[in-house]
Amino acid sequence: MPHIGPVVESDILLALEGVTVSFDGFKAVNDLSLYIQKGELRVIIGPNGAGKTTVLDLICGRTKVSEGSIAFKDTEVTKLKEHEIVRLGIGRKFQNPSIYEDLTVLENLEISYPKGRGVFGALGFRRTAEVADRIDEIADMIFLKEHLNTKAEILSHGQKQWLEIGMLLIQDPELLMLDEPVAGMSVAERVKTAELLNRIIEGRAVIVIEHDMKFVESIAHRVTVLHQGKVLAEGRMDKIQEDPKVREVYLGH
């Protein structure tokens, strides 16, 4: 099993074991095993089509596994519905910012607030001081405090990415999965995003998919390289960059 270093059972937050998923015979993920520890920031890289996004889809239940198991905090999640997985404490950000364009920043955050999630709960939900404070806090963290009443559709691309991260943060998940969080951002925004990521990692595990190597270097603790649905290499960024297999399939060209 190509992971590096000893893993203490109790430290493991998320464990993928022998996971395979096939689309009409094509195995997008093939017998993959992957372990994420508590408080870890893991970056997954790999060439196009390596199965990175599919791995995230599998974890959050968007795609169902064909074989294998995924355990989060010792709970098998492969049979759970998406919202149940979310409620266990897994947050997922999509590749393209996925926010409610028709609602304001405030409303976006409010909807994500983890109370009133049932039909009647939502009907009776009130914006108490506690809720408002929490929204303020998050908005501050994602640099959108000035824009609380702005409609989300007129935010810049980078701001939308932040908003989506904020919508996850307000739920205080134990595992946060970010799919290309800096795609389409300006240099200044990237710097701020890196800073944001480093701040939010406290107390939770984060999985990031990223193409931008510079950005990866600026945040990475540990890197997993995927290739053709399998783990090709795993380890610290500097080690990975020297790995000949990795250089061949990914960095080499």
Partner: protein
């Protein structure tokens, strides 16, 4: 009062107040009994379009089967009224007195079991909302839990409409068949066929409708309302925010069905019979069109849409009985192409800015943007 306060108050309540005034004061004053009764009939479709605003406009679920729920509500009250009208004295000439006439024609000799509870008025009132909601629940639960959406849902509701119509027409011993349940006379001893009764029913209908508008508004203003919009725009995101999206869809669809049921009951009371033609595919699509024309994002607009389309239908068909379909068809195409947000959208875009300019002295035109303006795709 400051301008901002005034404006928010106005934008929130002006439409409602105007509609109430129109229905409670203006129509009864200027229309004769016959026309007022017609307006009452049109308004019973208002209940359906309120539901459509909730489930189509806000949540993005297009149902081509609202006629089912309208019809179920209508049939519930019609069964009650028919039983009341079928006293043994009234039906003495039948081979089995005391059962509805059409059952007798179909050689039924006793009341079918599912008719029995409709002797009770309390049961009937509950059934008017509960039966449509229950059917909606079964349909919606099966569909939405399996994530059938959009066009598929629309087509399936249409197929269910076809099934129900064929069943009702085919099982005429139990349902009255294609004739429907006709010749309804009294409600708890009160003759509903007189002009006075029609007038009173009109006001009951208006009162119920206004209450339903307020209910709809309460739903939309709550967090639930924003979640519905969120579901329409980014269903997946809502799911990944920890919501069971299907539950919300099921809920809103059931609410829409219950509203339609109330509308159907008011229709039956004011028209005096219930007929399977009102359940069919064509009326169901027409209901969607009322909603589209009035504005699928506006409760008030949609109710006005129901009024306007029906009034236009009546007027066109009185003036040009052989050509009115051209006018109707043209109206639908025009509205869909040019005013996708319906009349309410027109008002928001042109009338409101104009009014705020005139009365509130606004320099710039953007009106207080309604929370939701984009259309469901």
């Amino acid at each position: 009062m400051t301008n901002a306060k005034l404006r928010s108050l106005a934008s929130n309540w002006l439409g409602f107040v105007l509609l109430s005034a129109l229905l409670i004061l203006v129509f009864p004053a200027v229309l004769d009994d016959f026309r007022l009764n017609l307006v009452g009939k049109y308004l019973s479709f208002g209940f359906v379009v309120l539901g459509l605003v909730l489930c189509w406009g806000y949540t993005g679920i297009l149902s081509l089967g609202q006629g089912i729920f309208f019809g179920l509500g209508g049939y519930c009250i019609a069964m009650f009224l028919k039983l009341e009208a079928s006293t043994p004295e009234n039906t003495a000439i039948q081979s089995t007195p005391g059962i509805p006439d059409f059952m007798d024609w179909n050689q039924l000799t006793e009341l079918p079991f599912f008719w029995e509870p409709f002797h009770s008025f309390a049961f009937t009132v509950i059934a008017i909302m509960a039966v449509p909601a229950a059917v909606a629940f079964i349909l919606a639960y099966a569909m939405f839990k399996r994530r059938v959406g959009g066009v598929y849902f629309a087509i399936i509701t249409q197929a269910v409409t076809a099934v129900l119509t064929i069943l009702i027409i085919g099982q005429q011993g139990y349902t009255g068949g294609i004739n429907g349940i006709t010749d309804l006379r009294t409600l708890l001893g009160w003759d509903i066929r007189t002009d006075e009764a029609h007038n009173i029913l009109y006001f009951i209908c208006v009162a119920l409708l206004l209450v339903c508008i307020l209910l709809g508004r309460f739903v939309l203003k709550s967090k639930l309302g924003r979640i519905l919009v969120a579901i329409r725009d980014k269903e997946e995101r809502v799911r990944f925010s920890g919501y069971d999206v299907a539950n919300f869809k099921v809920f809103v669809f059931c609410v829409a069905a219950a509203l339609a049921g109330v509308g159907g009951a008011m229709f039956t009371l004011q028209v005096g019979f219930m007929s399977p033609t009102i359940i069919g595919i064509v009326p169901s699509i027409e209901m969607v069109i009322f909603c589209a024309l009035g504005g699928r994002l506006s409760l008030i607009g949609a109710v006005l849409g129901a009024l306007i389309v029906n009034a236009a239908k009546t007027t066109f068909s009185e003036m040009f009985p052989e050509l009115w379909l051209f006018a109707m068809g043209g109206l639908f195409i025009g509205v869909t192409l040019f005013f996708p947000r319906g009349l309410a959208g027109l008002v928001d875009d042109y009338v409101v800015p104009f009014l705020s300019k005139v009365f509130l002295g606004d320099k710039k035109t953007p009106p207080p943007e309604p929370a939701v303006t984009k259309l469901a795709e």
